[in-house]
């Protein structure tokens, strides 16, 4: 079956010795032995010895003194009614940062927000979340936040600041407010009030990653400057030109939810949508596509024009490469066949290319079907031409006062340098900002704003779809809500009220939304209901009408392919956006879904196959090499990662890194490429053709790519007993595959992954069932030939005795649904107090995530398909880790949980060595607490300075900790617990209510975070539950079933809808 070609990366394919060695071991050998200087902090060791001496004497004295340390129990003075200490309260709110949007529930403990959950009531996201939304709670406790209002670097009071600013505003002839997309209708009212008071004000809106072209194209075509409502769930054929709609483009959570609805297959003969991605580098969305068509970035215009020619006639795009032409011809056929049920989108920032896309959709009859305007998206509203105009105004000295309102044009605007230079001519520069950034650094007045979890607000992400934002904690610092700051300067708000912005907000709602509805009689009941639900649906506006395009003009203005030998494409990373989230350690440590790199932007270079076992990177580069890339005259030294599936002659680099003012976490990590963008027709183009790339110039010290960490089995013995790299063998070099008896096995013969195309599902399922020895589909355990039958825990006996009653927890992961977005990984870190370890530690394989998403490639080596496999503790009922623990720190519960008692663990790491899934993590250093010995502390932030204490060791960051989960100390193993704290809580709820436990009582953090419902957790004994239903799918298999560990996690085969005949 097609399984015979899965690989994780070129190191594996090239049989690199170091990689093979590491893959065979649980713990990578560090350079501790060879180069002790690098690891042990030599200069501190004598002092450490004295400290240790002092500590032991002190400890002995304290212990001998036997004085009980006095602990205080401090109650409330007046306990708020809604708080019961020890019980979490949930508030509906909305995460909105720029155009990013997600309706959420905020879990608070004793008044502290500690976790974000999706809001199931939202018709847009339906409970899904993104990694960014999950991580946003950590930003609340960011040590880098502004804490007080400031003027010229001095802390001042709000009264002084307001007085000062008002005087300056009154004396200004020209006031400019620069902001990112504002989704809040009331905030727009605020700006109107501000403009009413200061009519000389203009508001300039732009987006960190521009979508101006699509807005402009729609204005020209429909007379409506919006992004339409894309209905991925209604489309049978989806063609995306470089739009990473599952990861970063416009509204990824919403799109992922809809997209996946059509991609879940349960039986032979089922149907699923077709997804074709036309792109230059492997994006997260591209990795999920059925077919990828590779074009160079400068060819994108031609590709669109070529497809337009095929669909609407009239030719075009003749300069496109032949392979892509062939592929697009086949795609055009599919599109025509799916008239009215297809969807073509593009992330191009060329207006005329977007007009061609509009025309393609129009010819295909998709408007009204898969594309609508009645609930158009407002998530991008910016226009960087306005910023251009602002820059020229500023350079001409026409602007007296500049207010930077939550944006950071000094970094993420494509001509940031010019912006910063021009701003020097502005007399008064005011930053209404949450934390210090490149733009606020040049401002003399800082008006610090609240975090969104401290704020009131409303959000209209799609027309007529409202949601509310409410504070879940009282402000931590002397900050003030940004909108309130503007209102105060405009004298448009009550000065006596306790919560003036709330009053303002309510007044606006009373006169607009409340007046427009009829279900509620009084405003207070309406407001309370809206606030409780967090989302208020219903309203929709009239769709756009008319269709007006000038095809000939458009065709003449599409971008032309370049003759340049090398091109570079810049993309927004799923984790940190264009730098907006780079102060967040959870997101910085989150690996990129595709390249699996963290802490920095790695240059993705294409890999070519030499036809004889070897894969080579461009210019002979290898993973972790430093290379010098010159883009438009700017030289940058970047580390390299080899990337499959790149268009030939194309390299890719992420935006958002190389910030200079992003606190300890984000400053100086990676390189800034915002000034490498080109500009066409006033719009930023996210590629550059003026590129040269050097060969290897050095080696990165801390290559923080987790791609090769914790890989499962790559070696095997062949028939001659020779140990070989099985994956290489599967590429057709060696006759291989019969009579394998190897102990280590390989991915090819070991059941780590199963996948199939929809067409071949029948055959592949038969193979799977034959292999598993399963007679009936619902048999979980078949007559699979186990490599061993040894067990200390006879499964059948235990099943009858223990697991047959009460609960028997299990999990089901649908690989077809997993898009690799990493929301679950971040949610798991938040829920389980998983530490951030920093770049150096990641490079030493010490990342602590309990849930990782393994990425595997299969198929064509130069343009492969991808499977994402969430891998966490499998809670084996015949667990190999348990019986090697000398102190019984890990053992089994009667509910099928593989338990880990941290306080029993003595750190032998035998368990991790014996885990076939490599999911156990060891606390090599003191990752969460400030150890008194510096040698035991990780250096999480590369520029932490003097007080470089570990992440989470300060009292502010510690507020995010989940009080129900132990913070682990140095020297113990930890791993996924199936969110046992949630299990226990759910059981208690059911007991208190005197009823049986149901699915809703216990849902793990990864499950609730998932935007595509790929993860299902539940009680296997609950025959009516969701899990039991999912466990009946014939597509299910158990990872590494042959090692007979009786795991509790079941995977469902990855199915795609690839058309093998399309070759591009």
């Amino acid at each position: 079956m097609s399984n015979n070609s899965i690989w994780v990366g070129n190191k594996e394919l090239n049989k690199e010795e170091e990689f093979l060695h590491n893959a065979g071991q649980e713990f990578v050998t560090t350079d501790l032995m060879e180069n002790s200087d690098a690891v042990i902090e030599q200069d501190g060791s004598r002092r450490d010895f004295l400290k240790f001496l002092g500590f032991s004497v002190g400890a002995a004295t304290v212990a001998a003194g036997c004085d009980i340390p006095v602990k205080r129990a401090i109650p409330y003075v007046v306990k708020p009614d809604e708080i019961i200490p020890g019980v979490a309260t949930y508030y509906a709110s909305t995460y909105a940062e720029g155009g990013d949007y997600c309706p959420i529930l905020v879990k608070c403990r004793e008044g502290r927000p500690i976790k974000i959950e999706g809001n199931d009531l939202s018709p847009i996201t339906k409970g899904g979340t993104s990694a960014r939304a999950q991580a946003s709670v950590l930003s609340l406790y960011d040590t880098h936040r502004y804490r007080k209002p400031m003027a010229n670097g001095e802390e001042i009071s709000w009264q002084e600041l307001d007085k000062d600013v008002k005087a300056k505003l009154a004396a200004s002839n020209n006031i400019r407010i620069v902001t990112n997309t504002i989704l809040s209708p009331t905030a727009k009212e605020v700006l109107k009030d501000f403009q009413a008071k200061y009519p000389q004000t203009k508001v300039v809106t732009y987006d960190p990653v521009s979508a101006s072209a699509i807005l402009e194209a729609n204005e020209m075509t429909f007379g409506d400057r919006v992004i339409p409502d894309y209905k991925f769930d209604k489309a049978d054929v989806i063609v995306s030109f470089n739009a990473d709609f599952l990861g970063t483009w416009i509204s990824p959570v919403e799109y992922a939810k809809k997209y996946i609805k059509n991609r879940k297959v349960d039986k032979v003969g089922g149907s699923m949508s077709r997804h074709i991605q036309v792109e230059s580098h492997m994006s997260m969305t591209g990795s999920n596509a059925d077919n990828r068509v590779l074009v160079r970035p400068s060819e994108m215009g031609s590709a669109i024009a070529y497809l337009h020619g095929l669909i609407a006639g009239g030719g075009g795009g003749s300069q496109l490469n032949d392979k892509a032409k062939g592929a697009l011809t086949a795609v055009a056929g599919e599109l025509k066949a799916a008239r009215g049920k297809s969807l073509v989108i593009s992330a191009s920032n060329n207006v005329y290319e977007q007009i061609l896309i509009n025309d393609i959709n129009n010819v295909l009859g998709n408007y009204g079907g898969t594309i609508g305007f009645d609930q158009a998206s407002l998530q991008r509203q910016g226009d960087e031409k306005d910023v251009d105009a602002l820059v020229s105004e500023m350079s001409a000295g026409l602007v007296d006062t500049l207010i930077v309102y939550g944006a950071n044009p000094g970094y993420d605007y494509c001509k940031s340098e010019a912006f910063l230079q021009a701003s020097e001519k502005v007399k008064n520069k005011i930053a209404v900002s949450y934390s210090a950034n490149e733009s606020s650094d040049v401002c003399s007045i800082i008006a610090p704003s609240h975090h969104y979890l401290e704020s009131w607000g409303d959000v209209e992400a799609k027309r007529g779809q409202m949601s509310l934002m409410q504070p879940t904690i009282s402000p931590l610092f002397e900050t003030r809500q940004a909108e309130l700051t503007l209102l105060s300067w405009a004298d448009a708000v009550s000065t006596t009220s306790d919560q003036p912005y709330l009053d303002y907000l309510k007044a606006k709602w009373q006169s607009s939304a409340f007046a427009a509805q009829s279900s509620f009689a009084t405003f207070s009941t309406y407001w309370d209901s809206a606030l409780r639900d967090g989302v208020i649906g219903g309203g929709s506006s009239a769709g756009a009408s008319g269709f007006n395009v000038d095809i000939n003009l458009a065709k003449s203005k599409v971008s032309k392919p370049s003759a340049s030998e090398l091109e570079v494409v810049f993309y927004e990373p799923v984790s940190i956006g264009n730098g907006q989230f780079s102060t967040n350690p959870w997101l910085m440590e989150m690996p990129d879904p595709v390249s699996r790199t963290s802490w920095g932007n790695y240059l993705a270079v294409p890999v070519t196959y030499d036809g004889n076992k070897k894969f080579k990177g461009l210019n002979g580069l290898e993973d972790g090499d430093y290379a010098v890339i010159t883009v438009g005259g700017k030289e940058m030294k970047v580390p390299v990662v080899l990337q499959f599936g790149m268009a030939p002659g194309t390299v890719a680099l992420a935006l958002g890194y190389g910030r200079t003012a992003a606190g300890k976490c984000g400053t100086g990590v990676g390189v800034n490429v915002n000034d490498c963008l080109t500009v066409n027709d006033g719009l930023a183009q996210y590629y550059n053709t003026d590129v040269t790339l050097s060969g290897k110039t050095g080696k990165e010290d801390h290559f923080s790519c987790v791609q090769y960490h914790h890989t499962i089995g790559v070696k095997a013995k062949n028939n001659d007993g020779e140990i070989i790299n099985a994956d290489e063998a599967t590429l057709g070099q060696t006759a291989y595959g019969v009579g394998i008896t190897g102990y280590q096995g390989s991915l090819t013969e070991r059941s780590v992954l199963f996948h199939s195309t929809l067409k071949d599902l029948d055959k592949n399922l038969d193979d799977l069932h034959k292999k598993r020895g399963v007679q009936k589909y619902e048999d979980r355990h078949g007559s699979y030939t186990h490599l061993n039958e040894q067990t200390l825990y006879p499964f059948d006996e235990y099943s009858a005795e223990k697991y047959s009653q009460g609960h028997h927890w299990g999990m089901h992961v649908d690989l077809s649904s997993c898009i690799g977005c990493n929301a679950c990984t971040v949610a798991c870190m938040a829920e389980n107090n998983v530490p951030v370890v920093g770049k150096k530690e990641v490079s030493r394989h010490h990342e602590m995530t309990w849930l990782r998403i393994d990425r595997y490639y299969y198929g064509d080596v130069e343009n492969p398909n991808t499977v994402y496999q969430p891998m966490m503790c499998q809670h084996c009922d015949n667990a190999p880790c348990e019986n090697v623990c000398p102190v019984n720190a890990t053992n089994h519960s009667s509910e099928g949980l593989n338990q880990m008692a941290y306080n029993r663990c003595v750190g032998t790491r035998y368990c991790a060595n014996n885990c076939p899934y490599k999911v156990r993590r060891f606390n090599w250093l003191d990752y969460t607490t400030a150890d008194i010995f510096p040698a035991n502390q990780p250096k999480v932030f590369s520029n932490g300075g003097e007080d470089n204490i570990p992440f989470g060791a300060d009292n502010l960051t510690r507020m995010v900790l989940n009080p129900d989960v132990t913070v682990r100390s140095r020297g113990v193993i930890e791993k996924c617990s199936f969110c046992v704290q949630r299990i226990q809580e759910g059981k208690l709820t059911a007991k208190i209510e005197g009823r049986r436990l149901n699915d809703k009582d216990v849902r793990t953090a990864c499950q609730t975070a998932c935007p595509t419902d790929a993860i299902t957790f539940g009680d296997r004994n609950n025959k009516k539950g969701d899990l039991s239903k999912k466990l009946k799918s014939p597509l299910n298999y158990i990872a590494l079933e042959e090692v007979n560990v009786q795991s509790s996690v079941t995977y469902k085969m990855k199915v795609n809808n690839k058309d093998e005949s399309i070759n591009a």
Partner: protein, 471 residues
């Protein structure tokens, strides 16, 4: 053991002899019960001190000018007497006690009131008894414990005996040696004591004892059984949970629904103490601390506006006035007179004590939460949930916390060690039948029905597994 006055003994005897009359006939005993249930919230039990309500000693004499039924009606419904009847004595009292309403008690019969008055009389005339702590100890010692001096005598006697025996052996040896004509030198006492045998025995015993003590103490490190720290307020569970019979969960309202039982917020105290502002035991000494921590002005019965921003001196003025006024009342000093020197000293003492209790190194303000000393300290890696035990397991609070209702100062009753938890989980039977949740344990239900299993313990449903408490 002379704890009770002869009078009360007499009454107890009376009750024993006349059991049938108790309920019908007015008696001191039924009066006591009625007083505790209806009056003790506001009137001091000694009958000689003013609390929220006046001291009741001599109440009948004070009402002697009016018909007896006036007093009875007053007790039954004071508001009616003030506003409907406009009784002069009633109005006088109303004004004297700052218009604090006395709860109506219409359910009391005349016999009941007679009983209460009998009890008031008895209490007022009772001979004050003082506790003799040494006597208490001796009493306890006599009960069954062997006093330690006995051990010492035994120890010494055995020592002397062994010396004598050693001497005897030595003498016998000498005689034997003489008989055989061998020159034998007798060992001196010192030689015997420093001999090989004795020294090695002593060393052996020392090592054994040392090891035993070390291991024992190491195991007990951090365990605090019996821990009874002084609290910032001399809050007595005996008074509240014992005498006043307030339910534990009235204040510890988290116990039934949260992992924490919750130390009540000061506003919970104020539910009662806005009316009861002088304690029966310490007068103004302790309750004023609650007022000062929340900003309640007991002199005017209201919360002080802007209390958080008041200076220490302003706060001092408010509460020293209250303490002083009460001192005057207690010592029969007219409100207009100046305090005596003793009074000033007492007020100062109470104020200083208040400041000391409500502030510490980290908390300089008087306003704010009362920082109690935590008694039950579980390590951080232990998860314990009160709701599971109180609501589902229906475990009585006392099972783990001891007879708190008898404690003036709360002490940790149980070791809170893992062995102690586990032991209980082994023995405790799950209330299987009443809760639908447990229906998922079908096999156990079958076994219970067939009789092959008598009961399901917590252990049976996984109560000994690590991750029930450690995660």
């Amino acid at each position: 053991m002379i704890k009770y006055s002869f009078k009360s003994l007499f009454y107890i005897a009376l009750i024993a002899f006349l059991p049938t009359f108790i309920s019908a006939q007015p008696s001191v005993e039924s009066g006591k019960a009625l007083f505790t249930a209806n009056c003790a919230q506001c009137h001091a039990k000694s009958m000689k001190k003013d609390a929220t309500g006046p001291a009741l000693a001599g109440v009948e004499e004070r009402w002697a000018d009016y018909p007896q039924e006036d007093l009875y009606n007053w007790i039954k419904n004071s508001q009616k007497m003030i506003f409907a009847v406009k009784h002069p004595r009633a109005i006088e009292l109303w004004n004297q006690y700052n218009n604090v309403i006395m709860n109506a008690a219409e359910h009391l019969t005349d016999e009941n009131i007679e009983s209460i008055l009998l009890y008031v009389d008895a209490q007022a005339n009772a001979v004050p008894t003082t506790k003799d702590p040494s006597g208490d100890d001796a009493g306890a010692g006599g009960g069954g414990k062997v006093p330690s001096w006995l051990y010492w005598i035994l120890f010494l006697a055995l020592g002397v005996l062994s010396l004598i025996l050693a001497r005897v052996i030595s003498s016998l040896n000498q005689i034997a040696a003489k008989k055989e004509g061998i020159d034998y030198e007798r060992k001196t006492l010192l030689q015997t004591l420093t001999g090989k045998g004795v020294v090695s025995f002593v060393l052996f015993a020392a090592v054994l004892f040392g090891g035993y003590t070390t291991v024992n103490n190491a195991v007990n490190l951090g365990r605090q059984e019996g821990y009874a720290p002084e609290q910032p307020i001399k809050f007595s569970h005996k008074t509240h949970a014992g005498i006043q019979q307030i339910d534990c969960q009235y204040c510890h309202d988290g116990a039934r629904r949260s992992k924490h039982s919750v130390i009540p917020a000061a506003n919970t105290c104020m539910n009662c103490h806005s009316a009861i502002n002088v304690g029966s035991e310490y007068g103004t000494g302790e309750i004023t601390k609650i007022f000062a921590s929340v900003g309640w002005d007991p002199s005017n019965n209201k919360y002080i506006e802007g209390y958080e921003d008041l200076s220490r001196d302003e706060i001092k003025d408010i509460y020293t006035k209250w303490i002083g006024d009460n001192y005057k009342k207690e010592n029969d000093i007219s409100a207009d007179d100046k305090l005596t020197d003793a009074g000033v000293e007492e007020v100062d003492r109470q104020w200083n004590h208040l400041v000391e209790s409500l502030t510490n190194d980290q908390k300089s303000k008087i306003y704010g939460p009362i920082e109690w000393v935590r008694i039950h300290n579980l390590p951080d890696h232990v998860y314990f949930n009160h709701a599971q035990h109180v609501t589902i397991g229906e475990v009585e609070c006392q099972q783990c916390h001891g007879a708190v209702e008898e404690m003036d100062l709360v002490a940790q009753h149980s070791p809170l060690s893992m062995g102690w938890c586990i032991n209980c989980h082994r023995q405790t039977e799950v209330k299987f039948a009443d809760n639908e949740y447990y229906e998922s344990y079908a096999k156990y239900h079958e076994e219970l029905a067939s009789g092959s299993k008598k009961a399901v313990t917590v252990e049976d449903i996984g109560g000994l597994e690590c991750q029930k408490c450690h995660y």
